[in-house]
Symmetry: C2
Subunit: 333 residues, 2 copies
């Protein structure tokens, strides 16, 4: 686990999008975000207090989180100065960058000298077991998509937030870099060795109270040629009681795969449910989450109404409408 | 690639089963097996000439293959003496043991001093790409099972052998340790990092002649909670034109998963075909391979006849009957 709360390092982000990891932390776990650290030329602003390292330590921050993408896959000298100073100031470091903190000899040496930890959240830090397929207590919900990057993480975070607001027992279970940084823990599933994928998800979602929901972050798509195996491991390791179908209606082809068309929601429902019932015969599809960001409000509402009528399931865009109706559907099973 | 031909190291195998990797090499690639090396107390015998290291080198052997399971996960001192001597004699070493040759400092040092290679076939030696989903030329066939360890590798090797005997263009594509040792190359799929699984299979089965068949070794099962993700990556990376359904009728539950029952052949056919057509809409199920080793001849033939009639597909046990009818079915598409 990464120690919270965080100081969010925005570096020299060229725009707000480059700092989307930091934005996610601030949006979904504001209690984890003590302040932001911006360098000269930073064009991102989360609206958090700008703090020096010392100020953030005094305010309780434990970890400096690299909440920004770097350019060219290199940790620049300017960043290095801040990261080294942070270690010396008493911060752990956490990052989801492709180039790893642990591959920087100076950071490794300073961290060792200061007794601080480096967390590269792309790299598994646990020896996961092979999945045993044994049913666990507690309930689990998973969003499965017609494609990658259709809003599965957003849907899961919105459902988790709604459930906690209602006083339901809920844990968001992160399976990717951003989710891990937001919550401080999880499984970087795309970096897990094949044989241990499903086992890592069993590890992530252990026995729990009968009325507790694990809201498992989805990955990939059963219909995506590059990542479908990851998705199936998530279904079979997660043993979901409930599935949410996720979709982005304007996409012309599968992400990164020109010529590969998206499946219908019906096709996704049928194959996902068939596979989920292998490990949990009671699994149900309870709702549909549609990412309508590229549609007008009018188009979006029409699409949602048509989808809801056709599929016989609540269909909502959690960003526009909140996740309330998806949580209602969960609460009903 | 591992240099062939081999001297097969049987060590102090307590019985024939412990040497099943060596047996597989001798059965399927006899031209790769120059001889066998047995230590005192070895209870396995492949019927190959017993050779000293020097004799095997003189006969052209390039690699000493550890074709036997070791006891307790430790490479014993007695084995070590032979392995070190083999390196000094000019052999490369290849092994599928859990404990790696590369983790033995003495073997690493001697190999470096002698300019020899250590091949641990459980460990990927290639940086595989992420799958691109682009169709390749040539044809591909994959066996998918109702469970793990139902005879998929045997089926693939038997089909490959039959096709080559008929003068058809065929390559067995190994995806597991034994298969890699048999042929000298392949992908240790269960050890590949999640994001690169499907890409590793694309790498393994590149563009080829239009009438060439890649016979891809299957792994796991879409219905096996521990390994299903590996199987789906194999389907989506392999883009099979033809699927063979593999089954072992007497199994009481999924291998290693008490309480998990096996799916029907119909259920396997439907879900495997749905998923395979995501990347190759022309994919067909062409035959059924049944492992009848725990049935009498009479029971086996009755089961095969019933299955064939029910499924409308040729159903054979390649061990009892050869793979001829499966190859006929391939040749017909």
């Amino acid at each position: 686990m990464i120690k919270t709360p965080y100081l969010l390092f925005l570096g020299d982000a060229p725009d707000a999008l480059a700092a989307k990891v930091a934005q996610g932390i601030k949006d979904w776990r504001p209690e984890n975000a003590v302040g932001q650290f911006r360098m000269d030329g930073c064009k991102a602003d989360l609206g958090l207090p700008d703090m020096t390292l010392a100020e953030a330590r005094a305010a309780g921050a434990q970890t400096l989180v690299v909440g920004v993408a770097n350019r060219g896959g290199v940790i620049s000298k300017a960043w290095k100065k801040v990261l080294v100073a942070a270690l010396e100031e008493g911060f752990d470091l956490a990052s989801g960058l492709h180039n790893l903190l642990r591959d920087e000899p100076d950071l490794v040496a300073v961290a060792a000298a200061c007794g601080r930890e480096l967390h590269d959240v792309r790299v598994p830090e646990v020896d996961y077991p092979i999945a045993g397929g044994v049913r666990r207590s507690g309930k689990r919900v998973l969003a499965v998509g017609t494609d990658c990057s259709v809003g599965k993480m957003y849907t899961a975070l919105a459902m988790d937030a709604e459930m906690r607001e209602r006083g339901m027992k809920s844990s968001f279970r992160a399976t990717g870099q951003t989710g891990i940084l937001i919550t401080g823990g999880g499984v970087p599933l795309d970096a897990v060795v094949a044989d241990f994928m499903a086992g890592s998800i069993e590890w992530l979602t252990p026995d729990n109270d009968p009325d507790h929901w694990d809201v498992i972050e989805g990955q990939g798509s059963l219909f995506h040629a590059s990542y479908s195996g990851v998705t199936l491991a998530l279904i079979h390791g997660g043993q979901p009681d409930a599935l949410i179908l996720s979709h982005e209606p304007t996409r012309a082809h599968m992400r990164g795969l020109p010529g590969h068309s998206l499946p219908s929601l019906e096709a996704l429902r049928d194959v996902a449910l068939t596979l989920a019932r292998v490990v949990n015969p009671a699994c149900q599809v309870v709702g549909i989450s549609v990412n309508t960001q590229h549609m007008s409000e009018e188009e979006a509402l029409a699409y949602l109404a048509e989808t809801e009528a056709r599929m016989g399931l609540p269909a909502v865009d959690p960003f526009r409408q909140g996740a309330g109706r998806l949580v209602d559907a969960l609460a009903a099973i």
